[in-house]
Subunit: 579 residues, 2 copies
């Protein structure tokens, strides 16, 4: 991973690829790479869809190695949704393939020429080719991947945008194919697909044929550390049992029990029909119908939280929908039909729409009276309209905040214009601090305080009390930023927060890979450095304390059943980044 | 004018009116009143459509007196369009009627109860009544006024929202009837109609029957000062000749000549068909058809810049469209059909849409390919869809920035989300500084540097050079803020900038009215005080230097025919409010 691939889409005669040594970006991976490149090369005041923005795609430091569960691919840019810096990361096979090919980053840059030409980039051991192919225009991701398969075989990775990205929607993802070469994994949040669309690149085909796994500097130490790391993941209740058995949707019952499951566009904290869409029910259905409840999104994963959802006849519908997806389209919209939710998950994936943003947007549209709460068929239609770009779809595709703006509503559960995920910040106050303060806009993965507030991982901080939440969020945001640089899946955090030896094993794999002697302090410093850069970018882009807030109604309207409001003092919110 | 009328729309049993002495707000009028109340009573971080926002309606200090051309009515709130403080003011008969009734301000406040009830407020010498009348729901302004006329006669003022305000569109106005009791005058910018809509108030009927003109403290001095003031207005070329003869649309040819007339969504600086829609052509058509080219929007106006536009058969179409309206729907959209433009002006007025925001939004929609440039019938349809709230109309009604967001475009000519008016900031750089820095979002009336850049009023600063523009804008913004407090129409500025004795006469009318001894320095201090408050509100609402900028593409794409970019240094933009 010592090469940067730059694709100048504004070059004369069409997009041109140039490779260069990693140079000043040496030693960076994942979010550390994407955020550093964006902070260094993108003017913070540029328009996210203009020529000055860049799209940076970077495998994690460990991606492509034999380190377990290290296949995360980071995507960075200035976000069309938030207007701030964005890093969104994805599972699937992309990080491993790019890592094996030796690319530390792929950067799409420059001004797309006038017109509506679309390009396919193919990266293999033989180099990089860029082909104009307007027959790909407006292909949904699943159709696109079938086309790529026919041309390039079924052992490649496709990194692509669906119709939403082509239409430069603020809710649009970049899809990454999984081990079955399905476009089920997404750099979902913040509209990164629109930035790829603004560069006129429909897809990047990454062919790892002829490459080998990346070799560690110290093979023996690496092997031992990785073994201890895997053992630690298997030993922990969340990564060893809960996630493999039920996937992330194991959280539905837990959050409802805690009264922090946002229901009916964040008006209540418990969904009466939760049992119909819980992870337990979902796994049962998947197994009964011949789907898969336990499955890995990339090779070498020790957790195996993914799965396959099939219909009553056993036909593939979509990958196992994640908790946040089931929630967004389910309880948040008053919908309890798992088949309808799975259908929407498929539509989101094929159009390239972030499931959280889409579901929250549907909830806002329901609040506006576009369709009633609980209308599953109507909700499916809204997703279809979005992917097709009807006028209503154009509203919805711009996200929850834009939808609220178009319909004149106050009640948009967003921070920095990005929709809140599946945890009500009033009843899970630590995650509220993360929503408010992360440079990413409302994002649970930026500092998953739910772990400590609800799952009692890494200690316990009472979710209903304001005290201690700022510190909790700060520590988790720092740790997460560092983790997002490594390529390790965020889910390893459950084990490493609770088990010191597993944390050490993870650090040891990195040290053995690169012949380093990183300590826990170095990990903290790395996380702080990433966050400091990202915050500086956002400050120059126009963000200040006023943007580090939840919408005011979360402090005014109380959430049943605990009847709590968000009451973490502003002073504490403003202290989160006082490292 | 020593009474404040507060209407608490959240009171038990329906909206309740309370009058109170003007108290701490004594001595304030117009924008000084609205901005002071908003800064004092509205939390800057509130949602513009939420219960914490307030709508403040205030006549100018001189409104209701015999002072000439003093009938401006200010409307203030936190803006649903910009997210910052907003003052929009209007001609028509509202300020005079409220002033005669003794109201220094009407404040709509509190939380509208659930449901969709609409209320009519009636203010007369007998007091205030508030009537629930759901039969008014979704009436366009012209239809509403006919209904009011039938109930209250034709000597009242109606202050109302059309369908756009009811739908809480970010582009929605508050209409004020003129001397013919037509809803042709609007507090247009920033979505003030949506705030009125969010309070459930459809209209305020102001009946001045039984009141008299407000008496000056020093009648003799007042009479002499007012006479000198009127004489000064008549003597100046702009206020005495250009505006009466051709209205504001006299500017079409002037701006095209200067190369600063934004054409095809701000891509060129001259419209080839300008002569078809110029003020000269418009006046000629109006006179030939039996309309009026010279007319006052309120009694006692010495300038008479308004008029009446009729169709080929002499039937009323709309009031004489303003320059900015003709431009927004005309050259900006490549449309040169004055009848189509007049039709859109009427539709804007009756639905309650700001003509500048609407026209710029249509231009953005044309850029997005929704309809082609030059498609007059299509443009009329877009205005209709907006007023009717179709999904496409919901996009357009949210304004130019939201439309660009929904269609994934960079090229939205906005500042703080508010559409730029009819002067390209690259070729009229002084107005560019005003667009960038005024607390109001892109607003030519906040500091009309066009006067000095193009019309050579108040001196001359070369419009194509960056030097001196910050100082020019600063001085004009200060003077305008003060003027907006008085109720005098901004158009008096042409005369008072050029004629020291006319300025003095204006100050003398105020001094004679209130028995004061205000000097020019006091006027400057008043303007600075208003701006300082407004800026402080915006800072708390989350605005900083990054928001005091034009979109980056104005510094990247050059404007023909002069091929200039906006190049006023950021340091100078940031110096505008260094009083």
């Amino acid at each position: 991973m010592d090469t940067i691939l730059r694709i100048d889409v504004g070059a004369k005669g069409g997009p041109k690829a140039v490779t260069q040594p990693v140079g000043p970006y040496a030693g960076l991976g994942g979010r550390a790479m994407t955020s550093t490149v964006v902070c260094t090369e993108v003017p913070p005041d540029c328009h996210p869809l203009g020529p000055e923005n860049k799209l940076v795609i970077a495998p994690g430091l460990m991606s492509g190695s034999a380190a377990s569960t290290s296949g995360r691919l980071s995507v960075g840019c200035k976000s069309p949704l938030t207007g701030g810096i964005k890093e969104a990361n994805s599972g699937g096979t992309g990080a491993q393939a790019l890592g094996r090919l030796g690319y530390a980053a792929v950067i799409l840059e420059g001004e797309r020429p006038k017109g509506d030409d679309w390009y396919k980039v193919v990266i293999s051991k033989d180099g990089v080719s860029i082909v104009k192919d307007n027959s790909l225009r407006m292909l949904p991701n699943y159709d696109l991947v079938e086309r790529i398969k026919a041309e390039h075989g079924d052992q490649v990775t496709v990194i692509s945008i669906g119709t939403a990205g082509e239409m430069r929607m603020a809710n649009s993802t970049i899809a990454v194919t999984d081990v079955e070469m399905r476009p089920t994994r997404h750099a979902g949040r913040g509209g990164v697909g629109a930035v790829m669309g603004s560069k006129g690149i429909k897809c990047i085909v990454v062919d790892p044929e002829g490459t080998t796994i990346r070799h560690p500097a110290n093979p023996e130490a690496f092997k031992a550390a990785n073994k201890a790391f895997v053992e630690g993941l298997k030993r922990h209740g969340v990564t060893g049992q809960g996630l493999p058995a039920y996937g992330t949707n194991v959280l539905t019952n837990i959050l409802c029990e805690a009264g922090g499951y946002p229901t009916y566009n964040f008006k209540e904290g418990r969904f009466p029909d939760a049992d119909k869409i819980s992870g337990e029910t979902q796994a049962q259905i998947e197994i009964a119908r011949g789907g898969l409840a336990t499955h890995g999104c990339h090779r070498g994963c020790a957790i195996q939280c993914s799965g396959t959802f099939v219909d009553k006849d056993g036909n593939f519908v979509t990958k196992q929908p994640e908790y946040e997806t089931v929630w967004a389209h389910g309880g948040n919209c008053g919908i309890s039909d798992l088949d309808a939710i799975a259908r929407m998950d498929f539509l989101d994936d094929t159009y390239g729409l972030d499931t959280i943003e889409m579901g929250v947007t549907i909830g806002v549209a329901m609040e506006a009276g576009v369709i009633p709460f609980g209308d599953a068929a109507g909700a499916i239609r809204l997703v279809q309209e979005t992917g097709q770009g009807t006028p209503l779809g154009r509203i919805l595709g711009a996200g929850a905040a834009a939808t609220a703006k178009c319909y004149g509503l106050e009640r948009a559960p967003v921070v920095k214009n990005q929709a809140m995920p599946a945890y009500d910040p009033r009843a899970v106050k630590g995650i509220g601090v993360t929503y408010a303060t992360t440079p990413m806009g409302a994002d649970h993965t930026a500092g998953y305080a739910v772990a400590t507030n609800i799952l009692k991982v890494g200690g316990f901080v009472d979710p209903l009390q304001p005290g201690g939440q700022a510190e909790l969020s700060r520590n988790l945001q720092v740790a997460t930023a560092a983790l997002d640089a490594t390529g390790f899946c965020l889910f390893v955090a459950f084990a490493i927060l609770d088990q010191a030896d597993t944390f050490q094993a993870m650090v040891d794999t990195i040290n053995a890979m690169y012949n380093l002697s990183m300590t826990a302090d170095d990990v903290v410093a790395l996380g702080q450095d990433i966050l400091t850069k990202e915050r500086a970018f956002n400050t120059k882009a126009g963000f200040g304390p006023a943007q580090d807030r939840l919408p005011r109604y979360f402090s005014r309207e109380s959430l049943p059943p605990h009847n709590v409001v968000f009451d973490v003092p502003e002073k504490e919110l403003d202290s989160v980044f006082a490292f």
